[in-house]
C-alpha cells in the first residue's frame, strides 16, 4: 500500500477510511433530537457515516456525546512547513563549555510566570537546581546565572528586573489560561519592550503547554518551547543565539 502524501486522511484500520473519534457537549436537552443535532453538526464538519455511540444527560438542558465518523477532508502533507528552533541540542557539560569558550562570561537568565498565572511547574522544571526528568535546571549550570522570579509577575516588574540584573535572556512561562489570556500577557511584554526601545537587548523566549515556536515568532518572541521541554534544549538555543548575535561565532 502506498501512501499518497498529498492527500492524507485520518486512519482507523484501513488506509483512507477517515476514522475519527469526537466527544463534545451541546446545550440541548437529552433525547433523540439531541442525537440528530450532534450528527448534523459533524456532517457540517465534513464527517460522514457518523454514529453516536454514547450520550449522557448532563442536566440543566445539556447533553454529552461520544461519536465516531469518517472524515471526507484531506491535507497535503508534502507541502507542510513548520518553523522549529534550529539550534543543535547540547548536553549539560557541553553547554557550559560552549559558554566558557564563546561567551567568556556567565549568561544571565531571568525566568517568570507572568500575569495572573500562579502555576510555576513549567518555569520550575526549567530553572530549578534539581531540574526535571533527570536533567538539571538552569540554576545548576555554573556558566549561567539563573533567577526564577516565580509566579504572578507583572510584565513591568519583569522588565525592571531584567534591566537591574542586566539579563541576556528572558524566559516567560504561561501554563493555565482562560479566554486566551496567555496570548495577551505575552503580547503585552513584547509591546512594552518595543515601546521602551529595548526589544533587541534580550533573547525573548516563551514556554508552556499551549506554546509552540511558530506562535512564539508570531507574537514577537525569538523562540517558543512546548510541553515536555527540558533545560538543555532551552540553554542550547540561547547560548548559541547569544554567541551569534554578539558575533562571537
Amino acid at each position: 500500500m502506498t501512501i499518497d502524501w498529498s492527500r492524507i486522511r485520518p486512519y482507523g484500520d484501513t488506509l483512507d477510511d477517515g476514522a475519527m473519534q469526537l466527544s463534545f457537549s451541546l446545550p440541548v436537552p437529552y433525547g433523540e433530537e439531541a442525537r440528530e443535532a450532534a450528527k448534523q453538526l459533524v456532517g457540517k464538519m465534513g464527517l460522514i457515516e457518523s454514529q453516536v455511540y454514547h450520550m449522557k444527560d448532563l442536566g440543566e438542558g445539556y447533553t454529552y456525546f461520544i461519536l465516531y465518523a469518517n472524515c471526507t477532508h484531506s491535507v497535503d502533507f508534502s507541502k507542510i512547513h513548520v518553523p522549529k528552533v534550529e539550534a543543535p541540542i547540547m548536553g549539560f557539560e557541553e553547554i557550559n563549555q560552549y559558554i566558557r569558550k564563546h561567551i567568556k562570561r556567565k549568561i544571565i537568565v531571568l525566568g517568570a510566570c507572568t500575569g495572573t498565572d500562579a502555576h510555576t511547574v513549567g518555569i520550575d522544571a526549567i530553572m530549578n537546581m534539581k531540574g526535571y526528568h533527570g536533567e538539571y535546571g538552569l540554576e545548576r549550570y555554573p556558566e549561567i546565572d539563573a533567577y526564577n522570579l516565580g509566579s504572578q509577575v507583572d510584565n513591568e516588574d519583569l522588565i525592571e528586573k531584567a534591566i537591574a540584573y542586566r539579563a541576556d535572556v528572558l524566559l516567560v512561562s504561561q501554563i493555565v489560561t482562560q479566554k486566551e489570556v496567555h496570548v495577551t500577557n505575552l503580547t503585552e511584554l513584547v509591546e512594552l519592550l518595543e515601546a521602551e526601545g529595548m526589544r533587541d537587548r534580550f533573547i525573548l523566549i516563551c514556554g508552556g503547554p499551549r506554546i509552540h515556536h511558530e506562535l512564539a515568532l508570531e507574537l514577537g518572541f525569538d523562540a517558543g518551547f512546548g510541553p515536555g521541554t527540558l533545560a538543555p534544549e532551552v540553554a542550547s538555543y540561547f547560548s548559541q543565539e547569544l554567541a551569534r548575535r554578539k558575533g562571537l561565532v
Partner: protein, 525 residues
C-alpha cells in the same frame, strides 16, 4: 497504635507534642498583633458592606485609622464610639466616613463603658446569626441527607458566576457533594475583597459576598431537587483571609481552604501576616461549622512525592495544632495530601497507599482532603483518566474524607462540563465497586507498605524537631517546606501588620473565644 500500619504510637505522640510547642510559640507572637484584614473583618461582622468610588467601605475606614496612627487600638473601639456619639448604624457611620462627612478620631469619647457595651451587643447579635446558619445547615442535612464519604468535590471555574451556577447545578445533578468555586488567579494578592456579582475572571471567579449568595441559593435549590445537601466551598486564603471567612460564615458556606502556611509558600505572602490572619480566620470557620481544607497537597507539586512525603505529614501536624488553638474540632479539619506519585515509578501505588493510610490512622477523626494527580498529568486524557481511577481506588481503600475529583483535562484547561461528568462516573464506579474493600485488607507486617509509612513518620518527627529547634519562622526562611524559601520581612502584606496596644479591643475575637471555650490569650501568661 492499632491499625493496619503498625505505626509507632510514641512517634505520633512526640510529633503532636512538638507541633503543639511550635504552634504555641507562634501563637504568642500572634497574640500581640492584628492586621488590616482582621480589622476589616471586624467591620464586616458589624455589618459594614458596600463600596464608595469602587473602594470597599471596610478598606476606607481601616486605612483612615491606620493613617491616623490609631489602628493599634482596634477598629471596633472607634466605630462603636461613633455609634454611641451619633446614634447611627455601623453601615451609616462607614458611609459618612467614606464621604468624609465624619471623622472617627475627632469624635469625643464620653463613655468607654457605653462603647464596649455597644460592641458587645452587636457582636452577640452577629454571632447568633452565624450560629443560626449552622443550625440551618444541620437542618438541611437532616432533612435532605448528604453524600457518603468520600464526598465528591468538584470545581467550577468559568469566571462568570452565572455560568458557574449552570455548571454547578449540572455537577450536583450528576452526583457532586461539594462545589468549589475556584477564585480568579490574582485574587489572593488583592488587599481588598471585590464587590457584587462578577462575570469576568481568569482561571476562576472572584470571591465576593454577592457571588457567595448567588451560588448558595442555586445549590440549595438543586439540593432540594436531588434530595441531597450540596456543600459550597471557597478559598479563605491570601491577603483577605479573615474577611473571606466572615463572608463565608454570613452566607453559609460549608468548606473553606484555610491553610496556615500555603499563602507564605505559594503566593509569597508575608509569613507574619498570614500566621496572624489564619488564627482569627479559623475561629470564625470553627464557630460557623465550616470544614477547613489545608494545602499540604501543594508541597508535592513543587517537591517530589517520595522524597518530601514527610514534609506533608509534618505540616499536617502543625496545621492541626494551629487549628486546635483556634478552637477548630478535628471533625472540621480537612487536612490535605495528594496523589502525586510519578507514574513511571515501580510500586508507586504501594507508596501512595502507605501515605494515604498513614494520614488516615494518624488523624482518625479528620475529613482528610485528598487531591488528585496534577503534576504528572500530561494532556494524554486517556492515560489521565486511568491515573484518576487509581487515585479513586486508593481513596476508597484508605477511607479518605473529601475527594477532589481529578479531571482528565488537568493541565489543559479549567474543566468543561462533560469532564466533570466523566470524573464523577469514574469515582462513583470505583467507590461503589470497592466500597468495603478497606474492611477486607490488612497489610503484611513489615512489608513494603508498612515500612514506607514508618519511614515517612520517622522523617516527619526529625523534621518537626528541627523546626522546633529553629522556630517556624526560621524553618520557613530555610525552605524546609516545598523547597520554597521565604524571608520573615519579605513577601506581600507586611505593612498591614499592626502591634496591638494594651487597650486593643476586638469584640468578635472575645466573643468567639468565649463561645468556643478558648482561654483568653495573655491571661495565662
Amino acid at each position: 497504635m492499632s491499625g493496619k500500619l503498625n505505626l509507632d504510637h510514641r512517634s505520633v505522640e512526640e510529633a503532636r507534642v512538638i507541633a503543639k510547642e511550635i504552634a504555641e510559640e507562634v501563637d504568642h507572637f500572634i497574640s500581640a498583633r492584628s492586621t488590616v484584614s482582621i480589622e476589616r473583618t471586624v467591620l464586616r461582622l458589624f455589618g459594614v458592606d458596600g463600596v464608595h468610588d469602587d473602594i470597599p467601605l471596610p478598606n476606607i475606614v481601616v486605612d483612615g485609622l491606620l493613617d491616623a496612627g490609631v489602628l493599634h487600638r482596634g477598629v471596633a473601639f472607634w466605630l462603636c464610639n461613633a455609634i454611641v456619639q451619633t446614634g447611627k448604624t455601623p453601615q451609616e457611620v462607614a458611609e459618612l466616613v467614606a464621604k468624609k462627612e465624619l471623622s472617627l478620631v475627632d469624635l469625643p469619647v464620653t463613655s468607654e463603658e457605653a462603647v464596649y457595651r455597644t460592641g458587645e451587643r452587636l457582636q452577640d447579635a452577629m454571632l447568633d446569626k452565624i450560629f443560626s446558619h449552622r443550625k440551618l445547615r444541620d437542618h438541611y442535612i437532616k432533612k435532605l441527607s448528604e453524600g457518603r464519604k468520600p464526598y465528591l468535590y468538584l470545581i467550577v471555574a468559568t469566571g462568570d458566576i452565572y455560568e458557574d451556577v449552570t455548571q454547578a447545578r449540572s455537577a450536583a445533578r450528576l452526583g457532586a457533594d461539594i462545589i468549589a468555586v475556584i477564585r480568579s488567579t490574582g485574587q489572593s494578592l488583592f488587599d481588598f475583597v471585590p464587590y457584587g456579582a462578577t462575570r469576568e475572571g481568569y482561571g476562576g471567579t472572584y470571591a465576593t459576598q454577592e457571588n457567595f449568595r448567588i451560588m448558595r441559593a442555586a445549590l440549595d435549590e438543586v439540593g432540594e431537587e436531588v434530595g441531597r445537601y450540596i456543600r459550597l466551598c471557597n478559598y479563605c486564603s491570601g491577603l483577605c483571609m479573615p474577611e473571606i471567612a466572615a463572608m463565608g460564615a454570613m452566607e453559609r458556606l460549608d468548606v473553606m481552604l484555610n491553610d496556615a502556611l500555603y499563602g507564605i509558600l505559594f503566593r509569597d505572602i508575608n509569613m507574619q501576616r498570614t500566621l496572624i490572619d489564619q488564627a482569627f480566620s479559623r475561629m470564625i470557620n470553627s464557630y460557623a461549622g465550616i470544614i477547613i481544607n489545608t494545602g499540604e497537597d501543594n508541597y508535592l507539586t513543587t517537591a517530589d512525592a517520595v522524597e518530601s512525603a514527610h514534609t506533608v505529614l509534618a505540616s499536617q501536624f502543625i496545621n492541626e495544632q494551629f487549628a486546635l488553638l483556634s478552637g477548630l474540632p478535628e471533625t472540621q479539619m480537612g487536612l490535605g495530601h495528594a496523589f502525586e506519585m510519578n507514574p513511571e515509578l515501580e510500586d508507586g501505588l504501594l507508596l501512595e497507599i502507605a501515605q494515604a493510610q498513614m494520614a488516615r490512622e494518624i488523624f482518625p477523626n479528620a475529613p482528610l482532603k485528598y487531591m488528585p494527580p496534577t503534576k504528572h498529568m500530561t494532556g494524554n486524557i486517556f492515560l489521565g483518566h486511568i491515573q484518576d481511577a487509581l487515585f479513586n481506588l486508593v481513596s476508597i481503600v484508605t477511607g479518605q474524607g473529601i475527594q477532589l475529583l481529578g479531571m482528565m483535562t488537568e493541565a489543559m484547561h479549567t474543566p468543561h462540563m462533560h469532564d466533570r461528568q466523566l470524573s464523577i462516573e469514574n469515582a462513583q464506579y470505583i467507590f461503589r465497586n470497592a466500597r468495603h474493600l478497606q474492611d477486607e485488607i490488612l497489610f503484611r507486617p513489615d512489608g513494603r507498605i508498612q515500612r514506607r509509612a514508618h519511614t515517612v513518620l520517622t522523617k516527619a518527627v526529625y523534621l518537626l524537631r528541627e523546626v522546633k529547634k529553629k522556630s517556624l519562622f526560621t524553618a520557613l526562611e530555610e525552605g524546609i517546606f516545598a523547597d520554597v524559601k521565604r524571608s520573615r520581612a519579605g513577601g506581600k502584606g507586611l505593612s498591614g501588620v499592626i502591634k496591638r496596644s494594651v487597650d486593643y479591643w476586638n469584640p468578635f475575637e472575645c466573643g468567639l473565644r468565649e463561645r468556643l471555650q478558648l482561654s483568653i490569650r495573655g491571661e495565662e501568661g
